[in-house]
Each structure stands twice: as C-alpha cells, then as structure tokens.
Symmetry: C2
Subunit: 377 residues, 2 copies
C-alpha cells in the first residue's frame, strides 16, 4: 500500500527528547516499511526513518522555540493535500487542522486520536466533521465523543519487541515510578504504596516548570524516607534496567489516561504494573496477568505484596500477544483495508500540479475541464 | 455585492468587552449594509448586526473560557466554505486557518491582517500560501512579510463619525493615556512627558495579569506625583469625555504598532496625538496636522507644549478625510472590485449541498460529473 504518515512537527520522528506521539508514529512507520509498504513520512527534516521523508520544516518546531505550531502544520497539510493522489491511505497524527481540508478525501483518510478527548475547546470540530474516520488508542478514550463519530477501530499502541528487553527476574526488588511529577500522575500515592507495603520505591521523573510548586510543596517533603529514592530524569537506555530490575511499576494515576505507554514498556520488560482504574488501564493491563488493576490504596498495597508472585514470563507473554509494534501495525493495515473496502468505486482525480489562485478553483483536485493556462490575464 | 464577513469567534461583534478586531469588523459590516450591500456576518451568536447573522457558536469563545479557539474557527470555516457560492466576496478577519481551505477561492477571497506580522511561528503560512489576497492595516505592517505576498491594498481602520464626537476645545487641559499598562505602551514615557512639560497626565488603563509585575515594580511607584492621576479602566461612554477634554493623547509606544485605534479615536474628538515614531504612527497622525510624531523625549516634551496651539478643527478634519468608517469601507469596496476584475471569466460551480465522505470527493465544489447518490454502498 502507498501510505502517507503525517506526524506532528513539534519534534523529530522519533523525537530527540520528549514526544509520545512522535515515538508512536516512528514505530508505526518503521514496521509498515518492514512489512513492505511504500510509506512517505511527512515530518520535520531532522527525522530519521526508513520510509521516504517529506521534510515539511527543517527542524522540530518546539526546539526552535515556536510556541504556535498552527502555521507549520497548515503548510505541511498543503503539501500533503497536493500529493494526495499519490497515496492509497493518508494517516494523520496531528490533532485538528486536517478535518476541513481533507473532507473531500475522508474515503482514504484516517486520524489517530492521541490525546484526551474531553476538552470542550475541541468539540466544535468533532461535532462538525463527523465523517472523519477515527482510530482511538483505547476504548475508554472514546467516551466523551459525539455518538455519530466515525470510529474505524481501537488500536492500542505497540512497542518494538526489543525496545524494553525482557528481564526474567527482578534484581532490584523495588517499585518503579517513571514519568513526570504531576498531580494527575499521583507520585504521592506511589510513595504511600511503598511506605505501607515496606517495599522500596525509586522515582525516575522530571519536574516540569508547571509542576515546580507541586514538587516543592507536596512531593519533595515526602521523599525523605529510607524506602524512597528520587533519581531524577533518566534516558531511554537507562530506562531498560530501571524497568527491567523493578518488582513492579507503580502507575497510580488519577486522570483519564488515553493510553499510557509506560505500562507496555514495563510489561515488555516482564515487570507487572500496579495501576489505579482510570482511562485505558483495565484494557491495557488485564488484571492478574499484566499486573493488577486497583480501586483503593488498600488494594494497591496488597498488589505490591502480591507482585513478586506474578509470572514475569506471563507478563511478557501478555505484552507480546497484544502490544508489540507488529500487532499494532497489523491492526492498522486491517483498518486501512476496511476503509478502502467501504469506499465503493470512486476513482481519485489527480490533484493539482500547477496552481493559479487568480483564475481557477484549484484545491488539490482541479476540475480537468478548466484549462488554467488558457484563461486571459 | 453579496459579501461574507468572517469574524473571530473570541468575542461577539461588536465585542461586549475588549476585542479590537471585532470592533473593526462591526464597523465595516454596518457601513457596508448602510451602503446597500448584502452582507452575511459569520460570527458568534451573541453578535448584534444589521447584516444577516450566520451564528457559528452560541457565544464568544473567550467568555466561555475556551483557551484554544482553533476548533471553533475550523467549524465556522466549514460553514463558510459550503456557502461560498452564495457570495461574491469572502472577507476574513481571522488569522491563519482559512489559507489552505480557501485556496480554491482566492479569486474572491481576501484577508485583513489585524496583528503584527513579524512572528516567526506564523511565517510558514505566509510563505506557503502566497496567493491569498491580503489587506494590510498600515504600510509599515507589511515590512516583515515575504516579497511575493499578494497585497491588494493598505486600508487604514476607520471609525463611525459620531463614536468619539468632536470637542471644539480641551476643557481639561491634560495629557491622556488610554489603553493597557504594558511595557510596549510605555506609560513611563507618558509620565515623564507630563513631569517635564508640567502638564497634568490622566491614565485610563487596565492592568492585565501578565503585566501585574510591570505595574507593581515600574509604574505604580511613578504615579505618586501631583501631576499624575491614575483613574483605572473606563468604558466606551466615559471614553468620549476622557478623550474629548484632553489637550493631547500621549501615545509613546515602543513596538511596531500595526494600526492603533486609539489614535483615530482621539483625532475624531479633535484631540491631537503625540506619538513616538513606530509602526503605523507616521501614516496615521500626519505630523503637524493630527498631532506630532516624535523621535526623542525632548521632542515629545516640546510637542506637549505646542499641542495647545494645534487646530482641533484641523485634527477633526484630518480624521474625517481619512479615518471614518465610510472612508474605510469605500476603500474595501474598491478592493473587492479590483479583486473581482482580476478574476477573468471563471464561473463558480455550486458548492456542496449534500455531503457523503464515503463516496465522493466533495469539498465545497463537487465535480457535477460524479453522481453521489447513485454510487453503491
């Protein structure tokens, strides 16, 4: 299949620093290429990919200090739309801007929803452009959306198998907390889980500017305890040992997490996840297999104690059966095929080669009956 | 002419509180209707207009607490695009989102640029969609833009004649400072002008959250002086007396002001403007007629002393000849006509009545040769 992947321009694909969406886009892209598809990646020019790279901006916009990414994305979409006839499928990973521009191409277009969908600011687009074929990253994520949304599938994120290699035993015997220090991630609960279960906790997390007060006022005073160790930010390489040597990942979130990549990273390493029931959690963990889904602190403490008895091989097996990049991409290819099959016998007209705003109604798909060059000046 | 006016959804048209763009859109709209044009105003539902109102959201988005207005604007643009065939001219007052969606309609589309144009974040749109016909609100505003931008005209803002009525004499004998307390407006300079010239200064200005530190640290300590009076925020009604009774408006800005409505409001009242040379200032004031354009504090102080000798009738005359809503709208109508004349013999196809994303390439202007209804499911 000829596939256009349209990534956010905030970061490179894969991202040089943070950028969950850009990481997932990279994994989908590389696996599609591995499976023999002809993929063109629309992304920032500092991206690295085995697909064809359509560089839409020299570098990621965030690192350049751009705060408003709208213009960069609109310019990218212009290029995607003009080349639309080259592709069987156009797969978007940006939030909103593609909805009106690609209304004429919904029969070969889909958008993966990467964020939470309960922000009222965005609702006018979801309510107006109900035809856009959508992929949710968990079933739970769909809940706030209009009933007539055009859902194609739920496709959980997947990870390349060896990104977080399997550790057959927990050499460290600690609870791991990985991510950002922020109120909705509830590091305070992780600390309480450790103190009440008597199992040490290691916190590998960054503190964003926005969360500095929360760190200073709430979390920092809690970490001065023999069971609690704060090790700061870690990189991708350090993450392998950090997750692989843990007894369990503490994921005591308090918000409707749309997916939660760190859960499958831990399970890839064979490390069970102890998570509070929220958002995607019950879909991802499978209670008693990939870890434990809990509703209360008492259950969480009990789960910490039970974690050592859970089969790490079973956790890894759960990951391999449901959360590898290969599984994810097989589902995407099935969704592409489903979309194309529902299309009927529409034949694409070629999109614009030349463009003359003064004279023609030329928007991606010019009407061939208008001879643009022949019109008088 | 059948004209679509597309306003920002942040505030009602006219705005209930702040919103310079929404005020100007209201003035253009009302004057076009007065001149007999058939105008449809795309705006928030709490707008008040003598045009036909196409309500695109029940209320202004800012008052509803929406921080991201992208989705609301995209939904509005969808409606504008579907109704595009009803209009001879589509006139945008929103920033960026219309550029790609209306590429097929640039021959009857224009955008008034209301903000400063030197923000690098926005440049990808200006560089990519060079065909969009543009109106600048001052010649100076154009400077940072790409050379191949499609400028149609510079059209200075205009004000309904009686909004700020003419005051034949300054009963107050004070300098007026009106607007926001912020570093680029330089209220500190206004205070220095008063102290050095010995002419009292009245400051009618709000302090935004973002500028609280600037007020506390810089300006508040300067206002405890017999010549300086801070009277806080005033409403539109109070503005008439405040401007009309002033000896001069102090406009000591330190940023590339794209237009500066308050300058023409003062001149409408017959009150001369003393402004530092920046952005639109020399175009709007006409040095020695509407007030004084200065480059240094010494010149500003001298101008304060000379202001009483300037003919207020001459200031009003300058306003009436160049900055009324009627003058502005005459220029817009000329720009519309110029745009339509350059169009050649293109005939609009009707835009979509029905829409079925599964089967047709239907984006505003469907190809009539595709019979959407006849395609198999």
């Amino acid at each position: 299949m000829r596939i256009a992947m349209v990534a956010p321009l905030a970061e490179a694909v894969p991202p040089k620093f943070y950028g969950g969406t850009e990481r997932v886009v990279s994994w989908i892209t590389e696996e599609l290429v591995r499976q023999g598809h002809d993929v063109t990646l629309f992304a920032s020019g500092d991206s690295e990919t085995s697909a064809k790279l359509a560089a839409c901006h020299p570098e990621g916009l965030r690192l350049l200090g751009y705060r408003d990414h709208t213009a960069g994305h609109l310019a990218m979409l212009h290029h995607v739309h003009r080349r639309a006839h080259e592709f069987d499928i156009i797969h978007f990973h940006i939030d909103l801007l593609q909805y009106p521009m690609f209304e004429d191409l919904y029969h070969k277009t889909l958008t993966t929803m990467h964020g939470r969908l309960d922000v009222p600011d965005f609702m006018p687009v979801y309510k107006t452009f109900t035809g856009m074929p959508l992929v949710s990253i968990s079933d739970n994520q769909r809940e706030p959306m209009p009933e007539d949304s055009n859902w194609l599938a739920t496709i959980h994120h997947g990870l390349p198998k060896e990104n977080c290699p399997y550790y057959p035993e927990s050499k460290g015997g600690y609870l791991a907390f990985l991510g950002r220090i922020s109120p909705e991630k509830r590091p305070d609960r992780a600390i309480e889980m450790a103190k009440r279960s008597g199992i040490p906790l290691k916190i590998a997390a960054k503190v964003d500017k926005a969360d500095q007060d929360y760190w200073d006022d709430v979390i920092e005073p809690m970490i001065h305890h023999p069971l609690i160790e704060y090790i700061g930010e870690i990189n991708e390489e350090q993450k392998k040992d950090f997750l692989g040597n843990a007894l369990a990942l503490a994921f005591p979130i308090d918000w409707p997490e749309p997916f939660g990549l760190v859960m499958i990273e831990a399970m890839s390493a064979g490390t069970p996840v102890i998570a509070f029931r929220n958002g995607s959690v019950p879909e991802v963990i499978k209670d008693g297999v990939g870890g434990f889904v809990v509703d209360t602190m008492d259950e969480a403490v009990e789960a910490c104690i039970k974690a050592k008895d859970l089969s790490r091989a079973g956790v890894r097996q759960h990951f391999e059966s449901q959360f590898t990049a290969e599984v994810m991409v097989n589902k995407y290819v099935a969704a592409y095929e489903q979309l194309l099959a529902s299309r009927g016998n529409v034949v694409d007209l070629p999109t614009a080669g030349s463009f003359s705003p003064q004279y023609g109604e030329v928007n991606g798909s010019p009407r061939p009956s208008i001879n643009v060059a022949a019109l008088p000046a």
